[in-house]
């Protein structure tokens, strides 16, 4: 297995088999559970006192709450509270995956296409289900925007259907590839540094430069981790809004 892809390989920690399925507890599972526990601890313990004047930790939960609630309200206005826990959970799962991945030797579960794909399918599936439950067959009017001339129907409808179906694809691939590429690049440059030192071929300055590039890349990846989680949450809201309001 090649060097830079090794970091994405899954190694079972506790092999578990359920019927014919292999649901072994891997590093990926470990960080998913760790992310869940950290999220729960952060959002539960810090606001235990319901302090009037928030401390540092309570401030973190309140900032998370208010930014995601603000986002949800922006798209779903009056019904925001109903869908807020869903949007918040999606956001936290993605955020935890992205951020945990930045700790050296940790596993980035959001770099797994099956994970981001499942999340995207959940979001789009939920939005679609919502559309059918709320509007019945009217839901299909989503594919033919109001005010479009009827002659355009044969062109518009396929385009709209393709764009709707590509939603989960773009949603999952965007996140997954952002994570994969970032980590591959960091591993590549980091490996180059190590090789330079190991081979002992001088040019310490060159090594230092590469190392500092990697440091800057790390900072960039922190930003990417936050942005991608935010983008995922925004698109979740947009898709839910389509399901609730049909444009």
């Amino acid at each position: 297995m090649s060097d830079i892809l090794e970091q994405f390989a899954l190694k079972p920690i506790v092999p578990i088999h359920l019927g014919s399925f292999d649901i072994s507890f891997t590093q990926s599972s470990a960080f998913m559970i760790a992310g869940a526990l950290l999220t729960i601890a952060l959002m539960t313990l810090t606001v235990r006192g319901k302090a009037l004047i928030p401390g540092r930790w309570q401030n973190i939960s309140e900032i998370l709450y208010e930014s995601i609630f603000g986002l949800t309200r922006e798209y779903l206005s009056d019904e925001a509270w109903k869908y807020f826990p869903f949007v918040f959970t999606v956001f936290m799962v993605v955020l935890m995956g992205n951020l945990f991945g930045l700790i050296p030797f940790a596993y980035t579960y959001t770099s797994q296409i099956i994970v981001t794909g499942a999340l995207a399918a959940l979001v789009v599936g939920f939005a679609t289900l919502l559309g059918f439950v709320r509007h019945g067959l009217h839901f299909f009017s989503l594919f033919f925007p109001k005010g479009t001339p009827i002659v355009m129907a044969p062109f518009i409808i396929p385009v709209e259907i393709i764009s709707y179906l590509s939603r989960p694809v773009s949603l999952s691939i965007r996140l997954c590839l952002n994570m994969v590429m970032g980590h591959m690049l960091m591993r590549l440059i980091g490996g180059f540094c190590v090789t330079m030192i190991a081979l002992g071929i001088g040019l310490k300055l060159f090594t230092a430069v590469t190392f500092s590039v990697n440091t800057m890349l790390m900072a960039l990846e922190c930003l990417v981790a936050l942005i991608q989680a935010h983008v995922f949450a925004v698109l979740t809201c947009v898709y839910l809004k389509d399901g609730v309001e049909l444009h």
Binding site: L5, S28, I40, M43, T44, E62, I114, A118, L188
Partner: protein, 194 residues
């Protein structure tokens, strides 16, 4: 030599792994993400962690944060209300104070005007009383002078009569009857005053 070594190390550390990564086709050498065997495990644990987060967030955490924020906002609003009420009250007190101040000023001005009016009235009264008194005294004096004058004039005729008869006695050596002398004096007086 050095350059060659550098090139070799560059190839070894960067180009080779990258080339391997993308050249790898399926099986064990490809992207680990594409290994279908790992999918059930990942889906299962994703579902577990997602459900865990969702349940705790929806049932405990988010309502709790919401309550905290609502409490804070309510408290803030009530404080703002209170502040508004207090400032309104202060405004009222200020208005009442200004009103009483204006009243007091008006009262003082009234009192001063009344005092001035009283004083001038008294002065006018005293002045008129004095003028009356002075007029009376003047009139009395005038009367006294007139009386003295008539008295003086009356006795002057007598003296003149006496003097006239004495002069006639001494100069012309003739005695003149008192009545004649008096007549002559009166005639002369009349002529003189005419």
């Amino acid at each position: 030599m050095k350059r060659k070594a550098l090139m070799t190390s560059f190839a070894a550390s960067v180009l080779l792994p990258a080339a391997q990564a993308f050249a790898a086709d399926g099986g064990a050498g490809g992207l680990p993400q594409m290994d279908v065997r790992t999918f059930p495990s990942q889906l299962f644990w994703l579902a577990v962690s997602f459900a865990l987060i969702y349940i705790v967030m929806a049932k405990i955490s988010l309502p709790r944060v919401r309550e905290t924020l609502d409490n804070r906002n309510a408290r803030k609003d009530s404080h703002l209300d209170q502040a508004g009420q207090l400032s309104e009250e202060a405004e009222k007190v200020k208005k009442a104070y200004e009103k009483s101040l204006a009243e007091a000023q008006k009262k003082a001005a009234d009192a001063m005007a009344a005092a001035a009016r009283d004083a001038s009235a008294k002065a006018a009264e005293e002045q008129s009383a004095f003028a009356e008194k002075a007029r009376k005294r003047l009139a009395e004096t005038d009367r006294n002078i007139a009386a003295a004058k008539t008295e003086a004039l009356g006795s002057m005729t007598e003296i003149a009569t006496g003097i006239a008869s004495d002069i006639a006695q001494k100069v012309a050596n003739m005695s003149v009857a008192e009545a004649d002398a008096k007549r002559a004096v009166e005639a002369a007086l009349k002529e003189h005053t005419a």
